[in-house]
């Protein structure tokens, strides 16, 4: 490394580590657990120092009626109607380190039998795969009723998954009590969602800390949108939260998450007939995730396995010992 006078910031704070997934010895049935956070330096600035835990990726699996654009429907095929099989495939074929079971659209059907069925699905997924799980409800609240649905299904999930240390959420500033308490009682970390506002994030974390949770049991989602749809807010909020936490604001010292899967909502990706839509979508996801990770996200919840692979590849480059660099002069003359 060449020497130049660089002002090394002395960070007073550090992000707490959050563990997702409990193994047998910890009272769960996961075959391993994943630790995220623990940041002591700004993300990926290895000249400052190397953070203990690389950012991790959760593969998304939708519990029925996945809101996917056509190209992804083609990609996943029959899996979209079978969350259990989809989870298995995510782990065995696509090498998912964690699975994010998204119950988002399970809510579109509201009868009791269906609710029971969701409980069964969660149990079956717990059986089918042994990786740490995330369980997420409606992320973008449109109606007040969405809060009620989240409460109902996520508190239920917390019970079913007792002891497994699943990351469960979202909870909001105005709807955190029930789910927060259930997670506290059943020992799950909580996904705390706010809307691109550092003060909101402070407020929600404060509420959760008051409930009795600690920073080691909170993952923050301060994002608003993916590439083309608000990533500039996502980016700057993540960055501000991370800088503030490292500078010593204790309340914000929890890891962050970004949903690169949101990229697929872009209207650029809705046309089925375009040949390149899938590849464009993967690029949207990759750029969304790495932008988020550079700004401070410790987890990316991702949809396309190819995107997940590329994001992983990008991240690993920062945590491997560098081998010999290629001589970059060569590009000038490469034909």
């Amino acid at each position: 490394m060449s020497s130049i006078p660089i002002s090394f910031e002395k960070y007073e704070g550090e992000i707490k580590e959050v563990e997702i997934g409990a193994t047998k010895t910890e009272g769960g049935t996961r075959s391993y657990s994943v630790t995220v956070g623990g940041d002591k330096y700004l993300p990926l600035y290895s000249f400052e120092g190397i953070n203990p835990n690389p950012p991790r990726i959760a593969h998304e699996v939708y519990c029925y009626h996945a809101p996917l654009p056509g190209s992804l429907f083609n990609f996943f095929g029959d899996l979209v109607d079978n969350p259990v099989e989809w989870s298995r495939e995510a782990v065995n074929k696509f090498k998912a380190e964690m699975v994010n079971l998204r119950l988002t659209d399970a809510f579109s059907i509201r009868n009791e039998t269906f609710k029971k069925e969701i409980s069964n699905v969660i149990e079956e997924v717990l059986q089918a795969v042994k990786v740490p799980l995330l369980i997420t409800g409606v992320m973008d609240i449109i109606e007040m009723d969405d809060y009620r649905k989240n409460n109902e299904i996520l508190t239920k999930s917390a019970e079913i998954c007792e002891g497994e240390k699943c990351l469960i959420g979202p909870v909001y500033t105005n709807a955190f009590q029930e789910i927060g308490k259930a997670c506290l009682e059943k020992k799950h970390p909580v996904l705390a969602k706010t809307n691109m506002d550092v003060n909101q994030a402070l407020k929600l974390n404060t509420s959760l800390l008051n409930l009795g949770l600690t920073n080691k049991e909170i993952i923050m989602d301060v994002t608003t949108g993916a590439l083309g749809y608000g990533i500039e807010y996502t980016f700057s909020t993540l960055e501000r939260v991370k800088i503030r936490a490292l500078r010593g604001d204790k309340i914000l010292q929890s890891p962050s998450i970004i949903f690169s899967s949101e990229s697929w909502l872009a209207r650029e990706l809705q046309e089925e007939d375009k040949l390149e839509t899938e590849k464009t979508g993967i690029t949207f996801e990759v750029l969304t995730a790495i932008t988020g990770i550079m700004a401070g996200a410790n987890i990316s919840s991702s949809l396309h396995p190819e995107a997940a692979k590329l994001i992983n590849e990008f991240v690993n480059n920062f945590f491997n010992e560098p081998k010999q660099f290629i001589t970059v002069e060569e590009w000038l003359k490469t034909r």
């Binding site: 490394m1 060449s2 020497s3 130049i4 006078p5 660089i6 002002s7 990926l44 600035y45 290895s46 000249f47 973008d140 609240i141 449109i142 109606e143 809307n195 590439l227 083309g228 749809y229 608000g230 990533i231 500039e232 807010y233 980016f235 700057s236 960055e239 501000r240 209207r267 650029e268 809705q270 390149e276 590849k279 464009t280 690029t283 949207f284 990759v286 750029l287 790495i290 932008t291 550079m294 700004a295 590329l310 990008f314 480059n317 920062f318 491997n320 010992e321 560098p322 081998k323 660099f325 290629i326 001589t327 970059v328 002069e329 060569e330 590009w331 000038l332 003359k333 490469t334 034909r335």
Partner: protein, 464 residues
């Protein structure tokens, strides 16, 4: 720029004639906007006259950016890079978006060369009311033949209005290229530890900006910059190297350390724009698709972290489109709400029976809806309701979009004088307001599709 600059410091140096040439009421108003960076210094024309030259210089010293601004020119276009005031966008805003260059080589047959140049120039994507484009053509010499390079540059100049980056380490080849770039200021790429004296000479002779290339060696980079400055060459661009594979980490480190030295240490030798070369991904062994992916994410990383210009190779939309959107997003001014003016807009030639639709004044929502109406060639009125720049979902949830507000907008817009009917199409995501809107406004509500791409079909089926 000095942190606590007061408009008065500027005002003292202005002509104080209140001539209004800048489009503002008086010199004080101009000073205020200048300090807030809402207007450029060039807007005050009187300052450009010889009488005020010294005053203008003094003002410039007060307001100039931390990072040197470098201009790359063709006879008709200019691309500005650098000129930044802050390290992180949330500290104020970024100014000049990362200029993206795509390469051509001097071994291409003429027709292929022209085709590629045209493709670069014509690459365009419309996004929230803007045309997003590529900015530069990077001409690189793979033959090292001065004649070939000169011819290639000539052909490029004849076929595009885009400014160029000329790429070779061979001063003879570079000279041949520069002599064909008339009335232009291409960026010279690059001076290295081996050719710096010759390249420096060319830069002063042709008065062109010069790149200093010192891969993974910031000490060397600084000493070359120092030498060039002593030569009187001030328009410099720095390349600390873009390393693919395991080198990604070193790449990000170098870009970040240089930027930090500029902003936190006021290191004048490093306060220049940075150029990244994701194109280096192509020098690696392996599958072509892997190189394309790697080039793409290197570009993404460098757009986010401090690159002021980039050279890439792949011209495919799936790789470039996300890059230019990311650039647009990162360089959006965070101080401004992304909102459009509320009020009534007309599309096509609407008459008294034409449909009335409404949407929010969040720019992204508005332009998306407008694009869908235009592509369906609808004649209609679109009522833009002030939701303080929020999308439909967030506005409904945050009670910025309420039945009262919609009813008021209908009144204020005087749309009732323009159409005979009283039927309004509302966004599907605002469906739960439908009853209340009917009650408050007296208009009949038709609940439209959840996504505006469904508007054409919806209008065909439901608007009678």
């Amino acid at each position: 720029m000095a942190k606590e600059l007061s408009p008065l410091d500027i005002y003292k140096l202005l002509p104080k004639t209140n001539c209004k040439e800048c489009g503002l009421e008086n010199c004080m108003a101009f000073a205020t906007k200048l300090v807030a960076m809402e207007i450029g210094l060039d807007a005050c024309k009187p300052l450009l006259t010889s009488k005020y030259r010294r005053n203008r210089e003094k003002i410039w010293d007060l307001i100039k950016p931390t990072l040197k601004e470098v201009v790359i020119k063709s006879p008709t276009k200019e691309v500005k890079i650098g000129g930044e005031y802050v390290m992180y966008r949330h500290e104020l805003t970024y100014i000049n978006p990362t200029a993206i260059a795509v390469d051509v080589t001097d071994d291409l047959p003429k027709d292929e060369l022209i085709e590629r140049v045209k493709k670069i120039e014509n690459f365009s994507y419309s996004y929230i009311g803007k045309e997003l484009k590529l900015n530069l053509v990077a001409v690189r010499s793979v033959t090292e033949d001065p004649e070939k390079f000169g011819e290639t540059v000539k052909t490029v100049v004849e076929n595009t209005s885009l400014p160029m980056i000329l790429c070779t380490f061979n001063p003879k080849v570079m000279k041949s290229g520069l002599s064909e770039a008339k009335n232009s200021k291409p960026l010279i790429y690059a001076a290295t530890k081996d050719n710096w004296d010759k390249m420096g000479e060319l830069a002063s002779m042709y008065n062109c900006p010069l790149t200093i290339f010192a891969p993974n060696d910031i000490t060397l980079l600084k000493s070359l910059v120092k030498t060039m400055k002593e030569y009187g060459i001030e328009d410099l661009v720095l390349d600390p190297g873009t390393f693919p594979g395991d080198g990604v980490s070193a790449t990000l480190n170098n870009f970040t350390m240089i930027r930090r030295a500029a902003f936190k240490e006021n290191d004048e030798l490093l306060s220049f724009p940075l150029i990244g070369t994701p194109i280096t991904a192509w020098t690696q062994e392996g599958r072509i698709l892997d190189k394309k992916w790697e080039e793409t994410y290197l570009a993404g990383m460098l757009i986010v972290r401090f690159a002021d210009a980039l050279i890439v190779h792949n011209l495919e939309g799936w790789s470039l489109l996300p890059q230019i959107i990311l650039r647009e997003n990162i360089y959006t001014d965070p101080r401004k709400p992304v909102a459009v003016e509320p009020g009534i807009r007309t599309f096509g030639q609407p008459n008294e029976n034409s449909p009335v639709l409404f949407t929010t004044n969040f720019a992204l929502t508005y332009y998306t809806v407008a694009a869908d109406i235009q592509s369906a060639k609808l004649d209609c009125y679109l009522l833009v309701v002030d939701t303080e720049g929020l999308s439909v979902d967030s506005a409904v949830a945050g009670r910025k979009l309420t039945a009262d507000r919609v009813a008021d907008s209908i009144k204020e817009s005087k749309i009732e004088e323009k159409v005979k009917h009283r039927k309004i199409v509302i966004p599907g995501r605002a469906s739960r307001l439908s009853g209340e809107i009917e009650e408050k406004s007296g208009w009949k509500v038709l609940v439209g599709p959840l996504d505006s791409s469904g508007i054409p079909k919806f209008m065909q089926e439901k608007w009678k």
